[in-house]
C-alpha cells in the first residue's frame, strides 16, 4: 500500500487540487490600487465567502501599543461613513450573512459568510469600512471592555495563554513576536483613538490587503463589483518593514510561572526559520511525527507507555519572520515535571540519533493528504487555505507544489532539522507550577 499511494498523491494533487476544481480554476485579478483578488467559483452550495487578509499583526506593534492589531480588528466592525456604529453587523445579518475575524502575530483576517444573493451588499459594506472607517469615542471605550473580558476569559479558562505570554517574552529578546497578540493589560487600557487612526492609515490601504472569495459567485461580476466599490479607495505607501532580527540564542532559557494548577504544564519552544524557508516542510512533518495521532512518538511514549503526561502536542505556526516550534505537555499528576521534560528530550534525541522510518514518513504524508481534503471540503476551508498560501509562501500557486515539497522530504531531512533546531542552546522552557510549589 505504501508504494501504491505515493504516485497517486502526485497525480491527484498536482492535477486536481480542489477536487472538482483544478488549480487552473483559481482566478486572480489586481485592482489599480494594488488590492489582489483570488476567486474560485464553487457552486456546491448557494453560499459564498469573502476573506480579506491584511498584512498586519502583533509583529507590527511596538511597546505601548501591544495588542492594537487585535483591538483594531474589533474596531473595524464599529462604524464607517455609510454604515454607522452597529450597522455593519445589522445590515449583513439581515441579508442572511454572518462574519468573524481573527488576528495573529502576522495577519489580521476578516471573514464574511453569506448567501450569494448578498454578494453586492458585502462589497458595499467592506468598501465602506476599508475606505471610510469612522472611529467613534464611545465605541472605542465599550470595545476596550470587550477586549478586557476576552483577555480575562482566556486567562481564566486556558492556562496555556498565561504560560505562552511568558515563554514568548523570554524566547524573543528583540523581535516583536515577544508579546502576545492580545497585548498587555496596561496597553489595552491606555492606547488612544489617534493610535487607532494611525494604524488604519498605515496598514489598511488596499495594497496591503488580499481578498479571497470562494463559492457561488461569478468571476466577472466580482471583478466589476470590486472595480466599482473598492478600486476608488486610494493605495497607500508600503508600511515600514519589520527589520528587527532576533539575535542568536546563546543558551537555554528557563521560565517558571506559578498558577493554581493540579499538575505542571510544560511549554518548550525552539527558534525556527520563517515559513518561506526550505526547511519548513521537514519541520512541519516533524511536528506530526512527534504528535500526530496516538501512534506518534511523543504520544505513544509519554502519554501511553510511560504515563508521564496526559496531553502532548508539537506545533509550528506559520510566520513571515523566524518563529517558534512548540512542544507542550500537561504532566500526569504526581509526576515530577523534570521526568516528563527529560522524556521529551529523550524522544528528540532518539530521532537525532536513529532517524525516522520510511513508514513513519509515509504515515505523515498520508495524514497531510487527508487533512488537505478535509480543508477542501468546504468553501471556507478553500478560501482560508488559498489566502494562507498566498501570504506565507508568497504565491498561491505554491499550493500546487506543496505535495511535491512534502513528497521530497526524506528521513535524513527530518533527522537534520531535528538536530539543527531542536537543541538545548536554542530552547526556552516554560514550566507552570502550582502556586507555592518549588521548582
Amino acid at each position: 500500500m505504501d508504494l501504491k499511494r505515493l504516485p497517486w498523491i502526485f497525480i491527484l494533487l498536482c492535477t486536481v487540487l480542489f477536487s472538482q476544481t483544478t488549480v487552473n480554476d483559481i482566478r486572480s485579478f489586481t485592482l489599480k490600487n494594488g488590492m489582489q483578488f483570488l476567486v474560485v467559483e464553487d457552486h456546491s452550495i448557494p453560499n459564498a465567502n469573502m476573506f480579506i487578509f491584511w498584512k498586519v499583526g502583533s509583529r507590527n506593534e511596538v511597546p505601548g501599543i501591544t495588542g492594537l492589531s487585535h483591538f483594531f480588528e474589533h474596531m473595524m466592525f464599529n462604524g464607517a461613513e455609510k454604515y454607522g456604529p452597529k450597522e455593519f453587523d445589522r445590515v449583513m445579518e439581515a441579508a442572511g450573512g454572518a462574519n468573524n475575524a481573527y488576528t495573529s502575530e502576522n495577519v489580521t483576517v476578516y471573514t464574511d459568510f453569506f448567501p450569494s444573493s448578498a454578494t453586492e451588499l458585502i462589497f458595499d459594506l467592506e468598501a465602506d469600512r476599508i475606505g471610510h472607517l469612522a472611529l467613534d469615542d464611545q465605541m472605542v471605550e465599550s470595545e476596550r471592555g470587550v477586549v478586557m473580558s476576552e483577555r480575562t476569559m482566556y486567562m481564566e479558562n486556558d492556562p496555556w495563554t498565561l504560560l505562552e505570554e511568558q515563554v514568548k517574552g523570554a524566547a524573543f529578546l528583540a523581535h516583536p513576536y515577544r508579546w502576545s497578540v492580545i497585548g498587555y493589560e496596561s496597553d489595552i487600557r491606555n492606547w488612544t483613538k489617534q493610535d487607532l487612526q494611525t494604524y488604519f492609515e498605515t496598514y489598511y490601504a488596499p495594497n496591503n490587503g488580499l481578498a479571497v472569495m470562494v463559492g457561488d459567485v461569478n468571476l466577472e461580476e466580482l471583478r466589476s463589483l470590486a472595480k466599482k466599490t473598492i478600486e476608488p479607495i486610494p493605495s497607500g505607501p508600503a508600511p515600514r518593514a519589520v527589520h528587527t532580527t532576533e539575535p542568536e540564542q546563546l543558551g537555554e532559557k528557563r521560565v517558571i510561572v506559578h498558577k493554581a494548577v493540579s499538575s505542571p504544564r510544560l511549554m518548550i519552544v525552539y527558534h525556527v526559520p520563517e515559513t518561506r524557508h526550505p526547511d519548513y516542510y521537514a519541520l512541519e512533518m516533524l511536528t506530526e511525527i512527534l504528535s500526530g495521532g496516538r501512534s506518534s512518538r511523543l504520544y505513544s511514549s509519554l502519554v501511553d507507555s510511560s504515563q508521564l503526561a496526559v496531553e502532548v502536542r508539537a506545533t509550528m505556526p506559520m510566520g513571515f519572520d523566524p518563529g517558534l516550534f512548540y512542544i507542550q505537555a500537561v504532566c500526569k499528576q504526581d509526576i515530577e515535571y523534570l521526568k516528563t521534560e527529560a522524556a521529551i528530550y529523550g524522544e528528540i534525541d532518539r530521532i537525532v540519533r536513529d532517524g525516522v522510518t520510511d513508514r513513519e514518513l509515509q504515515k505523515v504524508k498520508n495524514q497531510k493528504l487527508a487533512a488537505f481534503y478535509r480543508r477542501m471540503e468546504t468553501i471556507d476551508g478553500k478560501a482560508n487555505t488559498l489566502g494562507t498560501y498566498a501570504l506565507f509562501f508568497g504565491d498561491y500557486r505554491k499550493l500546487s507544489t506543496a505535495p511535491e515539497a512534502y513528497a521530497q522530504v526524506t528521513p535524513g531531512d527530518i533527522r537534520r532539522v531535528a538536530e539543527t533546531y531542536l537543541k538545548k542552546t536554542n530552547r526556552t522552557v516554560g514550566i507552570m507550577l502550582n502556586t507555592g510549589e518549588d521548582s
Partner: protein, 462 residues
C-alpha cells in the same frame, strides 16, 4: 491548545442542529435507509466532492444509563478503542493513523458515537476495524487502568477551566436526580471504582445491533458498501438494547435558585441562567430557533447587543436550547470580569425579560428569518456533517422534513406566531442560575437571584 490567535467572537452556530442545501435549495440529499435482519439501522448517503468517507456509528446509550456509577457510559465508550479480540490497542491506532484517518468516540447523555473520517481507498480496512471495535471490544485490564487514570487527571484539570465544567454543574443543578443530571464525564470517586467488569457488564446490556445506527456519507458506491457492511455486521447478535427510556416526568423548578461554585483564584465570573427546554423532536423546533436567533443566537442578538456592544461587559453571550430525546434545557450563557458580575447578571435578566414584555417586531423577525436561511447551507457541507445529521435523525426522532421544510417553517414565523412560541417555550420565571467565580468578591451579591447553594470547585463532582 490555542496558539496566539484571537478571534473576534466565538462561533454562533455551534449549538444548533441544522440543515442543508445543495443545488436545489433546502432539499436533503438522497440517502438510503436499510434495516439489517439483526435490527441495526444503516443509512447511506453518497457525496462525491472529495475522496473522503465519514462514518458515524451511534449506539443509543450514554450517561443516562450510568446508574450508580457516574462515568460508566463514558469509560465504556472510550474503552472501545483499547483493543478487540483480534487487535490490540496499538494495532488499531497504528492502522488508523497510518492511513490519515481521524477517529474518536464521543459519549453524550443518550448516545455513544464512534466517528471515523478516512480516504475512500481505505474503505475495506476501516470498515473491518469499525466492526471489530463495536462488536468485539476486549477491554484489556492494563489499558483500561491507564485510560481511567488519565481520565481522573482530566476531571481534575477540567476544573481549572470553568468553561469546561459549568455545563455539568448546570445539568446536575437543573435535573437533580433525573438521569439527565448525570455528568457525562463522571465524578472522581465514581470513576475511581469503575472496573473492567462494570464496563463489560454495561457493554453487554447496552450495546447491540438493535440499539445501533450507522450512517455513512461520502465518496462510495451505495450498493457495494451496503453489501460489505451487511456482511461485517450481520453476525452481530449481542443481546444489548434497546435501552431503557429515561423517565418522562421531569420536575419543573418551583422557585428561583442559585448554585454558586467558588473558585478562589478566579479573575472572571462565568454563569448560566436557565430553565426547562424542549425535546429535539418538538414540531416547533425550527420556529423556536428563529426566536432564539433574536435573543442570543447571533452577533446582533439582543443579549449580545446590550451586554457586549453597548456596555462592554463581556466578550460574548449566547442563548440556546439544548435538546435531548425527552426533554431539554434553555440556557443563557456568558462571562464577565469579577467587578462587573452583578451588572452582567442584571442586564442578562433584563434583556431576557424584554422577550416576554415586548417581543420582536416584524423587522427584527425578517432579519432573523433571513439570517437563519442564509446561514443554513454551510452547516451541512461536509460528509461528517451529513453523517452526524443522519444519526441524529434516528436517535432524536426527527426526519428529512426538518431540512426540506426548513425554509417554509422559518418563513411562517410572524409576530403572532413569535408571541405564541415565546409564551409556550421560553421560561418566564424560576430561573436556575449557576455562577462560578471568586467568592470573596461576588458571594454577597447572589442572594437577590434566588436561594443560594454553595460548592467549592475543588470538591469532587458537580
Amino acid at each position: 491548545m490555542k496558539r496566539g490567535k484571537f478571534v473576534r467572537q466565538f462561533g454562533w452556530l455551534l449549538c444548533l442542529l441544522s440543515g442543508f442545501i445543495r443545488s436545489e435549495p433546502f432539499q436533503c440529499p438522497p440517502f438510503e435507509r436499510q434495516v439489517l435482519p439483526n435490527g441495526m439501522v444503516l443509512i447511506l448517503m453518497e457525496q462525491h466532492e472529495v475522496p473522503l468517507v465519514s462514518v458515524s456509528a451511534v449506539v443509543k446509550t450514554g450517561s443516562v444509563h450510568d446508574g450508580e456509577k457516574h462515568g460508566l457510559a463514558f469509560l465504556t465508550g472510550q474503552g472501545l478503542l483499547l483493543g478487540t479480540k483480534n487487535r490490540c490497542k496499538i494495532e488499531i491506532e497504528e492502522s488508523l493513523d497510518f492511513i490519515g484517518a481521524e477517529y474518536q468516540v464521543s459519549v453524550y447523555k443518550e448516545e455513544t458515537a464512534l466517528s471515523v473520517s478516512f480516504m475512500k481507498t481505505d474503505e475495506d480496512l476501516v470498515l473491518s476495524l469499525i466492526a471489530d471495535i463495536l462488536m468485539r471490544p476486549s477491554f484489556p485490564a492494563d489499558e483500561f487502568e491507564k485510560r481511567k487514570s488519565r481520565h481522573l487527571d482530566e476531571l481534575t484539570n477540567n476544573k481549572e477551566s470553568p468553561s469546561r465544567v459549568i455545563r455539568a454543574y448546570f445539568d446536575q443543578f437543573m435535573f437533580g436526580n433525573h438521569p439527565y443530571g448525570n455528568p457525562v464525564s463522571g465524578t472522581e470517586p465514581d470513576v475511581g471504582r469503575i472496573t473492567t467488569d462494570d464496563v463489560r457488564a454495561f457493554y453487554s446490556k447496552q450495546y447491540g445491533p438493535g440499539n445501533t445506527v450507522m450512517a455513512v456519507a461520502g465518496d462510495f458506491k451505495t450498493d457495494r458498501i451496503a453489501k460489505k457492511i451487511r456482511h461485517l455486521f450481520g453476525e452481530w447478535k449481542a443481546s444489548g438494547g434497546p435501552a431503557d427510556a429515561v423517565p418522562a416526568d421531569i420536575a419543573e423548578p418551583e422557585k428561583p435558585r442559585v448554585l454558586f461554585v467558588n473558585k478562589s483564584d478566579a479573575v472572571e465570573t462565568r454563569f448560566m441562567i436557565g430553565g426547562p427546554g424542549i425535546p429535539r423532536n418538538n414540531p416547533d423546533y425550527t420556529g423556536i430557533q428563529v426566536i432564539n436567533t433574536i435573543l442570543g443566537g447571533r452577533f446582533t442578538s439582543w443579549l449580545n447587543d446590550e451586554m457586549r456592544i453597548n456596555r462592554g461587559l463581556t466578550y460574548g453571550v449566547r442563548s440556546y436550547f439544548s435538546c435531548f430525546i425527552r426533554s431539554g434545557a434553555f440556557i443563557i450563557s456568558s462571562f464577565t470580569p469579577n467587578a462587573t458580575t452583578e451588572e452582567a447578571l442584571d442586564v442578562a435578566l433584563e434583556v431576557y425579560g424584554r422577550l416576554h414584555d415586548q417581543g420582536p417586531d416584524e423587522a427584527t423577525l425578517a432579519s432573523a428569518r433571513n439570517y437563519m436561511s442564509g446561514q443554513f447551507p454551510p452547516r451541512f457541507e461536509t460528509s461528517e456533517d451529513l453523517a452526524n445529521l443522519l444519526t441524529e435523525m434516528e436517535v432524536y426522532g426527527f426526519d428529512a422534513s426538518f431540512i426540506n421544510d426548513f425554509q417554509k417553517q422559518v418563513s411562517e414565523i410572524d409576530t403572532a406566531r413569535a408571541k405564541k412560541l415565546i409564551e409556550t417555550y421560553f421560561p418566564e420565571d424560576n430561573f436556575q442560575i449557576v455562577v462560578i467565580g471568586k467568592g470573596s468578591e461576588i458571594r454577597p451579591l447572589l442572594d437577590k437571584y434566588g436561594s443560594v447553594t454553595e460548592k467549592e470547585i475543588t470538591a469532587h463532582g458537580f
